[in-house]
Symmetry: C2
Subunit: 254 residues, 2 copies
DNA sequence: CGACCCTTTGAGGGCCGTCAAAGGGGGTGG
DNA sequence: CCACCCCCTTTGACGGCCCTCAAAGGGTCG
């Protein structure tokens, strides 16, 4: 099941001016001056292997990151080991802001697949805002957008029944993936999450998550086998999860 | 029980230069130029009675707000009426950012007590960022800080047992109130929430929330009667809720 | 005094968690 | 090339936490 892996993404050559992520229509176009400012802000890139931590819980990260390729997730753990996934990270997502303004990091970020990251030193953030208010505005946009995702997950964990939770998270992950070209035609060809991840995201136990996934699959709503996810009945999943979303407009990319 | 109400706060006279919230040491001091910029951004003030909506769900608000006085909360509802409270709002909190970047508002904000708000027209936000990058940075700070609160609530709803949830939310509300002078010495003299609010915040039913509150009260951890909340054993509540937090540093105030 | 809202308590059941163990695929080492 | 091991998935059994239903208690307001 772990055998298939996505085609290795085009590496980031370190030049933001030729960054191919910016070409995608999921993201807002940038002026040359803005690209230059981002290049100045950026200190380099970093590779993190699947399963390793990008940001450690309870330790202040000296860097902020943009996920350039791969899948990751943000999480918190309680002292007895219970883990809650807060939200998922896909290419273009910005991370590390929350602890800019706190005493210490309060969450961790783990790479679900091999990941490539753009690295931004935390201590250049204010200078970046100052030089390019428009990009500061863009970062605020990204922060607000991430909060919306956490809001949705909170409603899921707090108020949805098991089948509703699973329906919602499958649809959410598919749509996020489709938006950045990691899925198409109802199919995520390299779905990187195990059932434990889904359980940790929606607030169910692993066993009950499995039973619920099987139930929805028997109903023909989706297919999750190996690491291929297929959304067979998007409308039914929407209905079941009470989860309707308009297509997202292009977002900024730092 | 609804009889006692807090002393009416000093009204906002409309001049940010003399705003008394800024004097509190919970907030970062501002330069005169910054206060002026905020005054230009601000279009007026608004009063909302307890129980009324500040921001309506699914409708785009033309304004952003800072809560000047009172208690409020942000929430989402599912189509069958189930409601989840996302986070609580106290004086100094900024609201409305999330839908700046979305198609429509995806959450509502309700006043739990009579509230006074500073009103900021949404369409002046970019100009505000442009003129005062430092205050744009401050808004990002506020957004990131609010996301941290939602993160915590998600862990609560997703992974904590009933008693843990209740312990955590009581402690959280007390600390938030204490920080802005609405509580002291383990006592919140005008606690504005009903058990239904607590239930909606932690993801439990009203009945089970009541039973859990009574259980913790019998154990002597807290007292909640009428609209007075007393935290009797903060250390025990921390331990039970696995919820430890360092005192928060001063935050920006817009 | 009655209506209404919120709180409180009890009864019963179902959803979901925990425990346990088998199945299956891939990787590793012999 | 095969055997073994490990990780993940799957299924069953059982129990308990929490939800729903129901109704009484208490305070406030008209």
């Amino acid at each position: 099941m772990q055998a298939s892996s996505p085609p290795t993404p085009a590496g980031c050559d370190g030049a933001c001016a030729t960054c191919d992520l910016h070409e995608r229509d999921a993201f807002l176009p940038l002026s040359d001056a803005e690209r230059d400012a981002i290049a100045v802000f950026r200190s380099g890139s970093r590779e993190v292997a699947a399963g390793r931590l990008i940001i450690e819980e309870h330790r202040r990260s000296p860097n902020l990151y943009t996920l350039y390729s791969g899948w990751a997730f943000r999480f918190k753990t309680l002292s007895d080991g219970r883990r809650q996934i807060l939200n998922f990270l896909l290419p273009g997502d910005f991370m590390g802001l929350q602890d800019e303004f706190a005493e210490g990091t309060t969450y961790g970020v783990e790479a679900a697949t091999d990941c490539t990251l753009c690295v931004f030193p935390r201590d250049r953030l204010w200078d970046f805002f100052n030089r390019q208010p428009k990009l500061g505005y863009a970062i605020t946009w990204l922060a607000a957008n991430e909060e919306k995702a956490v809001d949705d997950n909170l409603v899921t964990a707090g108020r949805r029944a098991a089948a509703e939770r699973v329906a919602m998270v499958l649809l959410h992950l598919y749509r996020r993936a489709e938006r950045v070209g990691l899925a198409a035609d109802g199919r995520v060809p390299f779905f990187p999450f195990q059932q434990q991840h889904i359980a940790d995201a929606v607030g169910l136990s692993l066993v009950h998550t499995n039973k619920t996934l099987r139930k929805l699959q028997r109903l023909g709503l989706h297919r999750l086998e190996g690491n291929v996810l297929e959304i067979l009945e998007p409308h039914a999943l929407e209905q079941l999860g009470d989860y309707f979303e308009r297509p997202q407009r292009p977002t900024p990319l730092i």
